[in-house]
């Protein structure tokens, strides 16, 4: 899986570091002073993750919990994301990470206690009249490697008794091994990003197929874990509507609409840099054939009537299946 593991000298004795190092005994372990001395120091081509992926373990410095951009989650409440990892083992061709860190290497930050302390301060500041939302999975998949990183019990312990805070674990994986051993909590929501099976095949390279993700959702639902959905990014194709109809039909066979906490909808969009990276890394991706334009704000996206039509079409299908309108929100859209 990894070519080498680089660990910060100061993080060596941490049990989480030791656990990972023990798990990957057969590959070179290299002691370094600071992650940033190596990671992102040079431009490492993104697709080298296929043959030469390194892992870095260390402590995250600076701000650990940040406010999300507008229209990120259900409106009205303050939303934050926290950074406990960089990069992802999957290879979605539209992923913004390919233009973000200048390296596809994985980074695990082990100072979760400090992240939790920052969360505690934020919750205190926001008071009990607001629900503070914390999202994991902004720079990495929050479940894909959770059996190796092992931080979930810590977050479950912290959130379980909080009445004015929610934790969202975003994932494209079906790795629910760790979650299965944890007692569900009403305010810890596992949100699955889904696309029609044809789109997963075309764009979500190396991710589990739709059926596997649906089965994982069903298992967690039966265990009592709250489930949410992200239909994001939505990509246009000739049989767009029928693909989404088929996907949502399958979905609601596994989990009933009323069991879903919320569904976010977002149409594919890129910054100019990410789009250029994507063109370089995936020149034959079907995304390039799908009527993208350079928009008013410099971002590459579909024109407004098309975006809105796509969102409305999926929203209507969800409503037909009995999803309540207040559970649907448009992510990063006006």
């Amino acid at each position: 899986m990894f070519e080498k593991i680089f660990y910060e000298k100061d993080a060596f004795s941490n049990p989480r570091t030791q656990y990972v190092l023990n798990k990957f005994k057969g590959i070179p372990h290299v002691e370094i002073s600071k992650i940033e001395d190596i990671f992102g120091r040079v431009k490492k081509p993104y697709l080298q993750k296929r043959t030469n992926l390194n892992l870095f373990i260390g402590e995250k410095k600076g701000q650990l919990v940040k406010e999300t951009p507008n229209a990120y989650g259900l409106s009205g409440d303050p939303h934050y994301y926290f950074i406990h990892s960089y990069n992802c083992i999957y290879e979605c061709d539209y992923c913004y990470l390919q233009g973000y860190f200048h390296s596809p290497d994985l980074v695990f930050f082990i100072n979760h206690e400090e992240i939790i302390e920052e969360m505690r301060q934020i919750i205190k500041k926001n008071g009990s009249h607001k629900t503070s939302w914390f999202h994991a999975g902004e720079y990495s998949d929050s479940l894909a490697l959770s059996h190796i990183t092992g931080e979930l019990p810590l977050y479950f312990d912290f959130f379980r008794d909080l009445k004015s805070a929610k934790l969202e674990l975003r994932t494209k994986s079906a790795n629910i091994k760790e979650l299965k051993s944890l007692r569900p909590s009403k305010n810890i929501i596992v949100s699955f990003s889904l696309s029609p099976k044809e789109q997963i095949k075309d764009h979500d390279l190396k991710t589990p197929p739709l059926e596997t993700r649906l089965k994982a959702m069903e298992t967690l639902d039966k265990l009592g874990h709250p489930i949410a959905l992200h239909l994001d990014p939505i990509i246009f194709c000739d049989d767009f509507k029928s693909q989404y109809e088929e996907m949502l039909e399958s979905l609601f066979k596994y989990i009933s609409p009323e069991r879903i906490e919320y569904i976010s909808l977002g149409v594919v969009r890129f910054t100019k840099d990410v789009y250029n990276q994507m063109k370089k890394n995936y020149p034959s991706s079907k995304v390039h054939q799908s009527e993208l334009i350079k928009s008013f704000d410099g971002k590459v996206r579909y024109m407004r009537p098309m975006r809105l039509w796509m969102l409305q079409t999926i929203k209507n299908i969800c409503l037909l299946y009995g999803v309540k309108e207040e559970k649907l929100y448009l992510c990063m859209e006006e």
Partner: protein
Amino acid sequence: MKLLTFAHRAESQAFLKNKALSFKAKPFAFEGFYCSEKELALLITGEGVQSATEKLAAVCGAYPEITHIINMGVAGILEDSPKLDLNQIKVLRTCYLSRSEGMEFKSFTTSEESKNTFDCVTSHKRALTKEDSNRLSPFAPIVDRECWAIGSVASRFKIPFHAYKILSDRVFESGEVCQQVKDKALFFSESLLNYFLETWSLEAPGPIEAYDNLEKMSKDYSLHFTTSHKRKFRSLWNILLKKYSNEKEVLKKLDMDCFKEIKLSPKEKTSFLLEKMENLSTPFKSELKVKLDQSISPLKNAKCLVRFSENFEDDSMELSLKIRKEADLIHLKKALEKTDYKQIKNLLNGIPE
């Protein structure tokens, strides 16, 4: 023409002596440039980034016929790995640069498609000690003195570049390596020559066949392409090829047989073909335009110009009409009455029908 580059004459000696290649010195701004009748040239760049950059850039500027740059030479091993052994020839992938003040952010990647490739760090000074090895090995397992510079110039001139290095020493073991490398120079050079002859064809490339289906299409379907038509056709054709995987499929989608029967002039047929291609490449936009055109047809009939915002980024519309006589006003009033504004608004706001 392929251009081979080496840092030192000793590394290139087997190539220069090879009778089949028959390199001959070519007078140039500096010594060390050779050409062969086999569509090959050879440049001795000298050691280090600056010399390699200067000399290669000069040659690339003077010889636009260079199609590939192939960098060869010796390189050191930075880490003890079973994948790397002395005298092995390795195909390089990404080259990084270590400057005296630290690592350079920019990197250059070769045009190799093979999976069995290795990264290389080009060092500003000879890497000879364990400390050098510890400093450089986090970035790449192989070290040389020029490869990054070769990649940088190749990138600037947009020429594909390749790099093959023979592993001459283990940097992490330290020792008197320079003399040992010199002593084995002929062996290294011969190994590189054999590798090159096995890997690269010496056949002169035939004339590049400019594939263009415009001529064939014009003939088969009696079309006539103006210069702007040609430009538009090529751009749309590339989009459709990506969308429908092959040419046959695209032609089928365009229903080309209908062009044999259609009674239009060659130029009109071409415009019709381009419109069909546009509809196929942007089906949503095309459909939206048709529907909007239908919705605003009363206004258009009243000679009223209707403009929408750029890329329909908002749902407003702008009307302009020159009123010359009272009848114009009456026409406009009737046209406005006939216009279904709600329908236009729905189309612009993506409300499904």
